[in-house]
Symmetry: C2
Subunit: 292 residues, 2 copies
């Protein structure tokens, strides 16, 4: 790897005795475009390196949604866990059709590495999240212990969290959780559009590499997974999420409810009002493994 890009601090806010910092840097993984992320450092990060929990946001979101509306910071402060909030796609790539719809392209990178030539220079959120951000942040000397990472997310970001967790050859993450994830994307319209759009091999390539339900079917190692969704979620009702497919595949693969827990919540929808309600549960869940 060439020289690691340096971080530019855009803003800093004290919150829950810790610090929420927004950074910018020129991302190699995203084709030399500027990208931004938020990082929450809990108060104990002033004394020692702290574990890292990565939050992946959903379609149309940026690095701000989870930080501002997720209700994660209070519990992260109390648990002494850093939170990393990446963006959801490259911005300004100028790739074909990238701004034509809200569920493809800008704001909709789907946490994969594109293989179609017109997207493969910029649309590499998988590498950006799992490799580049840790390298760049480590090089900046920030007090994070990258040997203790977990990952969670919402909707498209829940898909990202589950697939990055299950597909990692290096067991990069200790645990994964998701709010209303796109849990079986090769069987839903959002996933089909993304896979056909970004991948040369289309849905079949997506099914092999980026589908949590397919990945858990082939998985054999122990896992720590928590999923929450609401029965009032219109995208759930439309069949975009399919958490029941992931649950069934998990049980068929031999994972019990200690290893894969899927919770259904009566009447909750797809919004951050749902996420914020169960936010503390997710932070505490990851703390079990990050602080073990």
């Amino acid at each position: 790897m060439a020289t690691v890009p340096t971080l530019e601090k855009l803003s800093s806010n004290k919150t829950f005795e810790g610090e929420l910092i927004k950074y910018k840097f020129k991302s190699v993984a995203l084709g030399d475009l500027d990208t931004q992320f938020n990082l929450y450092l809990p108060p104990n990060a002033s004394q020692k390196k702290v574990p890292v929990l990565i939050y992946l946001a959903g379609l149309t979101c940026t690095e701000d949604n989870g930080a501002q509306k997720g209700n994660f910071l209070k519990t992260a402060s109390a648990e002494g866990i850093a939170l990393l909030f990446p963006d959801t796609s490259p911005r300004g790539a100028g790739a074909p059709n990238e701004t034509d719809s809200w569920d493809f392209g800008v704001g909709a990178g789907f946490y994969l590495n594109a293989t179609k030539p017109e997207y493969s220079r910029n649309y590499n959120m998988l590498t950006h999240v799992t490799t580049e951000l840790p390298q760049v942040i480590e090089a900046a000397g920030l007090p994070l212990d990258w040997s203790r990472q977990s990952i969670f997310g919402h909707s498209m970001g829940g898909h990202g969290a589950l697939t990055m967790y299950l597909a990692s050859k290096t067991k990069q993450f200790r645990s994964a959780s998701a709010f209303a994830p796109i849990a079986n994307p090769s069987n839903c319209p959002w996933g089909e559009k993304a896979f056909n759009g970004y991948l040369q091999g289309g849905i079949e390539e997506g099914k092999q590499r980026y589908d949590a339900t397919e990945l858990i079917t082939k998985h054999t190692d122990p896992v720590h997974v928590l999923i929450d969704y609401g029965t009032g979620d219109n995208f759930y009702k439309q069949g975009q999420l399919l958490p029941e497919n992931f649950l069934k595949a998990s049980r068929n693969a031999g994972y019990d409810e200690v290893q894969v827990r899927v919770r259904s919540h009566e009447g909750y929808d797809h919004s951050y009002y749902f996420i914020s309600t169960f936010a503390s549960d997710h932070i505490h869940f990851h703390a079990n493994f990050l602080k073990a």
Copy 2:
């Protein structure tokens, strides 16, 4: 009063076992313009009428900022208190200069009743918040106990909360609190601009009716006031907030720290990251009086 306007429900989200509902209605106080508000009903509102805590947002905000970013809902749910989030001004009045700057006009109603003829038809946020919203919501049959009301707010909304509390002849509110309030508006640029803009009597009229520091000086009844601000708040440093003037006037008027508590927080700024940190404290503070 003529027929009470009816509420149109625009959306509803289940959150913390309760319900956040967005309503619209045609406001008489705001000159027959449509206005919106959010109402959080805690879970126990399904069994009985619950107390009401009104949150007034700051410059440039809408009814959404406090609901989405304030971190108020979890504690309100646990305490069994409803939260009412009004907008910050009329919208669409077409009054002079109302969209020329972010600190006057749209998004900046200053929670007063305008007396200049060009604003007095529409800019009546005092009446809207203290009289019209309770009437309209009561007429809709929503389960709120208006004999138990308190009020709080941020920045311009902190000014609104303190002045509505202190100026009420009917002791409408049991307690008031504020995050980084504009506490002495007749002595700061924001307040001077608002008073000169909306009021025929200019700063002198504002000083008499809408300045918390002036009002506490003349006040004699017992009060319950909590104020938080951060030393890293740029508007505080610029002299827009002046909480020290309010504190000094309170002590001179004989109010001790049980009745008027002003807390300074090292390094915190003016953002919702600051508000969210101390949000629970404020809900618990009001619960003491709302549930007494």
